[in-house]
Amino acid sequence: MKNYWQIFKKGIVAENPIFVLALSLCPALAVTSSATTALTMGLSVMFVISMNNIVVSLTRKVVNPKVRVPVYITSIATIVTVVQLVLQAYAPDLYDALGIYLALIVVFAIILARAESFASKNKVVPSFFDGFGMGSGFCVALVIIGIIRELLGAGSIFGVKILGDWYNAPLIMILPAGGFILIGYLVAAWKILTTHMEKKQAERGEA
């Protein structure tokens, strides 16, 4: 169990898809101008990546390595279609807000990367936890970016007005340029955080 916890935790902190691996930055910029869309996208990706890792892991002995990429894509596309239909039925507003990026989950680098580097080599349960951890890391990163961008760029969080009318929001935070600068600073902050945590862990190990 402890092992699974390690696999899960790795995806959130030490190998965070956005802040450390720097994969799938395009959606991280495109859907994070508000916290709500960021959270929806994060949860969708979390679901897709976990399910896909299970499928890939289950079929890893059946699939010929030469055709593995089309097989992965087919599997991801199936799961994404499910997510799309569910969102369209139960949350049409969010579905419209995410637009093309929901369908683009099919080609997110992070999902293919986990299928290729983890799920195709490991058993089902660890693969699920890897996907779940990576998905959670992606979701956490997106929500952090989304909250900061929405707060600075629109004065609200999850659509709730936080800053009053005095706040003259800079448009740059809603635009991709502000997103890029913010992600840069968050990567630096993440680095400080993880270095600090590693140092603490090392100290605890010595003591």
Partner: protein
Amino acid sequence: MAEVKSNKELFNVSVSPHIRSEESVSKIMWTVNLTLAPAALFGVYHFGLNALMIILLGIVSAVFFEWAVEKIRKKPITIKDGSAFLTGLLLAMCLPPTLPAWMAIVGSFIAIVVAKHAMGGIGSNIFNPAHIGRAALMVSWPVAMTTWSKMTTSVPDVVSSATPLNILKQQGYDALISTFGSASNMYQAMFLGNRSGSIGETCTVLLVLGGLFLIYKKYINWQVPVVMIGTVGILTWIFGPAGFLTGDPLFHMMAGGLIIGAFFMATDMVTIPITIKGQIIFAFGAGVLTTLIRLKGGYPEGVCYAILLMNCLTPLIDRFCQPKKFGVRG
């Protein structure tokens, strides 16, 4: 022991360089600040108190952010060398005089913290910090950044709320002439600075004098401003409003931020190519881009973006303009 000491005095052995220049970063920066001061003071006289507020807040906040970042990064504090002062001053001089003054602080923050220190501090920044600050403000508050005031002083009949380039873009050349009365009136106003525009960009004569002093002191190469302004002049003359060779180069050369950009921004030692050849390519490219944005783009003025875009190309230009090694064939 005593003998050795006296020998050392007699035959002072040291590694090269043996002759050192008196120049230093700090001396150059303060000289540039001084050469900019007349145009900035003219801006204050011309546009009034809010312009003064913007300049002061821009400078003070830029110096403060420089101090704060160096404190956090545990680097030597270099606020006395004038580079942060210069960034704040240049930024403020590129802002419209009616801008809410606190926006200058945001601009200084972007310029110093994001564009300068995130890239590694003085000497390591890819882009001109002051122009990055201005571009970020332009993107953040487009309405405030394109609202131009009436002038507070000077000749009443040239009062206009839009900048000359704005009038040219929206209403055409004839409307531009009629706002000033006549063509010679317009040239005179553009030359002396009796027009609307950013705080420090209006007074052509003071900026040119400041720039000439820098050229005389050899702090900047004359090729850069000459090529950049010349390119804009020639291209705007060729691609005039009524067909080929009907443009008004004199107007375009004095309009907008071209003079301050060409003399003080495009000559920033850090962000332009090292060799003269490279600098000429840089200046030419900036001139072409400025003309393109002015004549074909959505914005009335393009100096800021032109210089920033050429800053991106600086490493590439440097690569193709490496001087030949002495004594090596080919």
